[in-house]
């Protein structure tokens, strides 16, 4: 079964702060994704990648950068955090981009 590990699990920062969320998957999946989850909106795709060095823009990319350094590691960067980015963030992976998503346990981010 796919293993996706996110860190940190919880993060508090101030408006304008710098935040990096980390994700590692250990099942050699090609695709990795960053979603945010907000009440009333379900899960919304921020960025995704289909391999090391690749980055694709999702549906709600404003204010976020991402980088895929290896096949295993995918990072989400908030360089000037705003209160609107307070959310629950999930990383996910999938083998082909056409099949099951395997999610991490999430990172809860609060921007004060």
């Amino acid at each position: 079964e796919a293993a996706v590990t996110q860190s940190p699990r919880n993060k508090v920062t101030v408006t304008g702060g710098n935040v990096t969320l980390s994700c590692r998957q250990t099942n050699s999946h090609n695709y990795m994704y960053w979603y945010r989850q907000d009440t009333g909106h379900g899960l919304r795709l921020i960025h995704y990648s289909y391999g090391a060095g690749n980055l694709q823009i999702g549906d709600v990319p404003d204010g976020y950068k991402a980088t895929r350094t290896t096949q295993e590691d995918f990072f989400l960067l908030l360089e000037l955090a705003s209160p609107s980015q307070t959310s629950l963030y999930f990383c996910a992976s999938s083998e082909t981009g056409r099949d099951t998503l395997y999610f991490g346990a999430g990172t809860r981010l609060s921007v004060l």
Binding site: G40, G42, Q56, A105
Partner: protein, 111 residues
């Protein structure tokens, strides 16, 4: 633009009853519909899925009914158990990278 809608937002049933969760979509190119189950403090996990060539998919106590003409689906959970209490997300998939999630139904099964 929300292309996948779920109802109700929350649902409470008694243990042993059948819970019915509804989903509708707009994009006629969707051909695959996974349902994800999420427990508090965890990420979503695939529960059951159906492809648009089928009208029904069963897996134990969980059944998806699919009406392509009306662009509607429903997830039936028979003999509901307290352990089924979770949030359920319906999603639409075109076969490419993009999965569109509904806003979820929070199910509570009371003993």
């Amino acid at each position: 633009q929300q292309q996948v809608r779920q109802s109700p937002q929350s649902l409470t049933v008694w243990e042993g009853e059948t819970a019915i969760l509804n989903c509708s979509y707009e994009d006629s190119t969707f051909n695959y519909f996974p349902w994800y189950q999420q427990f508090p403090g965890e990420g979503p996990a695939l529960l059951i899925s159906i492809r648009s060539v089928s009208d029904k998919k069963e897996d134990g106590r969980f059944t998806i009914f699919f009406n392509k003409r009306e662009k509607k689906l429903s997830l039936h959970i028979t003999d509901s158990q307290p352990g089924d209490s979770a949030t359920y997300f319906c999603a639409g998939h075109t076969g490419g990278y993009k999965v569109v999630f509904g806003s979820g139904t929070r199910l509570l099964v009371s003993p």
